[in-house]
Amino acid sequence: MPLTLYDIEVSSRLLLGTARYPSPAILAEAIRRSGTEILTVSLRRETAGGKAGGAFFQLVKDLGMHVLPNTAGCHSASEAVLTARMAREIFSTNWIKLEVIGHQDTLQPDVFGLVDAARILNQEGFQVFPYTTDDLVVGEKLLAAGCSVLMPWCAPIGSAMGPQNKTALRAMRAEFPDIPLIVDAGIGRPSHATTVMELGYDAVLLNTAVAGALDPPMMAQAFAGAITAGQKAYQAGMLEPRDMAVPSTPVIGKGVFA
């Protein structure tokens, strides 16, 4: 079943970051094997006469994917809003992955600045993908500010710890049944991705877990399979765990030998 994010429909449930790959060729191959249709990108200061940005811009254009620019590294709402405006200027998209970082060590979002920035950007016609926590109240405020997608972390960015609070993630799914929910940060292994998809999440956004692998293209493929497995399991309806054993083979008609 396709996933609709604002006005765009995609088949893949994997959004892939483009940073930290050993080379552009390995990045391109990882993208291909992931099956992703959405790439996250960023903006940085260009040196005078520099061409690095142009080369990456051309690579992204050639890949022909949907582009989701981020506001990574912004520590205030005003900084994030300006970065979003500049990203729209370059990439000609209303999509923005909104990050307002509030804590230097954990890269935890500043949820107050996040809501403020989301409100401004939504009023300016942006389609905001907010990087948030698993806090329900913040989620409600982001929706009230005009967001139609939520992207909670499951652990700190780049930590590879995997889901740290499944109860909170489950509550978020239950609270926002019709809102696309994308786990944005903290995934380290394909099994982590399967876990959050089994909780009913709509998609997973990855970067370091793929880019930092010994073989990024192979890891991208592994994640694609894991995400599909979790999604299908959720749709198929899983058994609830129980304390006592239940025989899988029926006992009716069993031979009696005593």
């Binding site: 970051g17 483009t18 940073a19 930290r20 790959y21 990045l27 996250t40 990108v41 960023s42 903006l43 940085r44 200061r45 260009e46 040196t47 005078a48 006469g49 520099g50 061409k51 690095a52 940005g53 142009g54 990456f56 811009f57 992204v60 620019p69 981020n70 990574a72 005003s78 300006l82 970065t83 405006r85 500049m86 990203a87 200027e89 370059i90 990439f91 960015i157 956004l205 970067n207 370091t208």
Partner: protein, 65 residues
């Protein structure tokens, strides 16, 4: 006139933002510019007059997560 370009002081005779980009050899359609915290659209650069001490940001695409 003295400007701050991407955080560094720059003494440049340019009077508009477009002239500044040319003087510093920036080129390409992948750049975004801001002056004193406000976005200046590509098409507005030729008529955007610079003032002494303006803070100019010139950003370009890069890899991101």
């Amino acid at each position: 006139m003295m400007l701050i370009v991407n955080g560094e002081p720059e003494d440049c005779p340019a009077t508009t933002l477009a002239e500044l980009l040319i003087a510093l050899e920036y080129e390409g359609d992948w750049l975004a510019t801001a002056v004193n915290g406000d976005l200046v659209h590509r098409e507005d650069r030729p008529r955007h007059q610079l003032k002494q001490g303006d803070r100019i940001e010139i950003l370009s695409p890069m890899q991101g997560g």
